[in-house]
């Protein structure tokens, strides 16, 4: 909790991750579901929404492999991948795929949520199923 005021949607999202739960927001007025956390529904601007837990099932939209570490924290990790996945509930998120077989195109592949302790927090990563 933020001592200076009420918890922001982003703080609520990160607090849930620390408990090992991947959550997203769903609009109480129009039903739209989204990530990342925010105050207004991007579809109808409603400020009324619930925080729901994702099933952890998702599909790969696209992925890349970094061969250059623009962020110095990753200089000993190249090559590493970053992927976009669509949760079955709708929201899209950026993540890492735990292992991608050499030479395989994983666009469209099904993946499952797998939390890993890294970067001093619980990171919601995914593995191919």
């Amino acid at each position: 909790m933020n001592a200076a005021g009420p918890q922001t949607p982003q703080e609520a999202h990160f607090a849930a991750l620390e408990e090992g739960r991947l959550t997203f927001q769903r609009c109480s007025d129009c039903g739209h579901a989204w990530l990342p956390a925010r105050h207004e529904c991007p579809a109808c601007w409603s400020t009324s929404h619930d925080r729901q837990e994702a099933s952890g099932r998702a599909t790969v939209v696209s992925w890349v492999v970094f061969h250059v570490a623009f962020d110095p924290r990753f200089k000993d990790r190249v090559p590493y991948n970053v992927a976009l996945v669509d949760l079955d509930e709708g929201p899209r998120m950026t993540t890492n795929i735990i292992e991608i077989p050499e030479g395989e195109d994983i666009v469209g592949r099904r993946v499952a949520l797998c939390f890993q302790e890294d970067m001093g927090r619980k990171l919601p990563r995914f593995e191919l199923t």
């Binding site: 970094f66 250059v68 962020d71 970053v82 950026t94 666009v107 990563r125």
Partner: protein, 374 residues
């Protein structure tokens, strides 16, 4: 149909590594050269529009530049739409002139990421930073992977785009990179962010460019030697972050082009050459498709037959583009469009009468289109 404005003059600085030059200094040099080219005195200028530099963002930059130029413009300011800013500023200048808000407008761009900071291109992105999500190139790589999944001939098309741009850059004595590219070199170059290799990525450059915009009538009164009519312009903004974009391989470039072609009363088949924003090869492939120059397969076939070379069916980026002339974000493509219409390009297209120019910004967040003619 069409606008009533012209590009009366063009100017630029050297391109490449320019240590010790501020963006203000490079903007002034480019503007001075554009006024000389137009044959117009500084005193005639009453509008100044400038793109915000990426290397150092500061408040009220347009006024800082105006002060340094000794101008008190009636109309002006900064545009912050990334690389799409340039054509959007030319459009804004044309509309302002037509609405009687000003008479002679300088539109200018200068940046110095090569000697200054590249932070704008390499930074980490918000909540996803802990996954290693960073840089502009990675955003384009994400789009390119999806595109290649949808269209298996993608990398053949990307390779031909790079080869054509580099071939034209090699013929341009003022280009930053004058080294032609062959297929084997492209295929063997190091990955930056897979699936994009070194030669899929534009240069990092210091430099500036500027154009003078005025009405056709004013150009006649001032005796401008080689005015090039602005026939149409348009914009389209995808706006969403690339990681949230509904369809990774569709942008609002189609709306931008449709607006511009409709305004000009022309269609893609009327274009004698195309100067297409090539921050990465994928950008050119998607823009040409969105503009109506053909399907992915048709574009790949056109590319393979040399169609993008200056004697081909659709000459592309005839001064070398961002891949070869300068990585500066976009106004140089307008300058080359003007040279093609004047018949003064270093890779001149025979009898070129119409040219389309595209600009875009961010990771395909913004797009703008310009149609020039004679």
């Amino acid at each position: 149909m069409g606008a009533t404005s012209v590009i009366a003059g063009i100017g630029q600085t050297a391109f490449g590594k320019l240590p010790g030059r501020s963006t203000v200094s490079m903007n002034i040099e480019a503007c001075g050269n554009a006024l000389t080219d137009a044959g117009v005195e500084k005193d005639a200028v009453d509008g100044l529009l400038v793109k915000v530099p990426t290397s150092r963002v500061e408040m009220m930059y347009g006024q800082t530049l105006a002060e340094a130029m000794g101008l008190e413009p009636r109309f002006g300011g900064v545009f912050d739409q990334g690389g799409a800013s340039n054509i959007s500023m030319i459009a804004l200048a044309s509309m302002a002139i037509e609405a009687g808000q000003c008479d002679v407008v300088l539109v200018s761009l200068a940046d110095n990421p090569k000697t200054g900071t590249r932070q704008a291109y390499e930074k980490s992105w918000g909540d996803a930073a802990d996954f290693g999500w960073s840089s502009v190139v990675a955003g384009y790589a994400l789009i390119a992977r999806r595109y290649a999944h949808e269209f298996p001939g993608a990398f053949d098309l990307f390779r031909e785009i790079a080869i054509a741009c580099r071939s034209h850059g090699a013929s341009n004595p003022k280009a930053q990179l004058k080294l032609p590219l062959d297929a084997a070199t492209y295929d063997n170059a190091a990955w930056v962010v897979d699936p994009l290799r070194r030669d899929d990525c534009c240069l990092i450059s210091d430099g500036g460019a500027a154009v003078v915009v005025m009405s056709q009538r004013r150009a006649r009164e001032l005796g401008v030697a080689a005015p090039v009519p602005v026939l149409g312009f348009g914009q389209g903004n995808s706006s969403s972050d690339v990681t949230l974009r509904h369809d990774l391989t569709q942008t609002r470039a189609d709306v931008s082009a449709e607006t511009a072609f409709h305004m000009a009363g022309l269609s893609p088949k009327d274009m004698d050459c195309a100067q297409i924003y090539d921050c990465f090869t994928i950008t050119v492939a998607m823009t040409l498709e969105s503009y109506g120059f053909g399907t992915r397969r048709e574009l790949a076939d056109l590319a393979r037959s040399g169609g993008f070379l200056s004697d081909g069916a659709l000459p592309l980026n005839t001064s070398g583009g961002l891949l070869s002339e300068t990585g500066m974000p976009g106004l140089q493509l307008v300058l080359e469009g003007v040279r093609q219409m004047r018949g003064t390009s270093t890779s001149q297209v025979k009898d070129a009468k119409k040219c389309v120019v595209s600009n875009q910004g961010g990771i395909m967040h913004t797009h703008s289109t310009l149609i020039l003619g004679q």
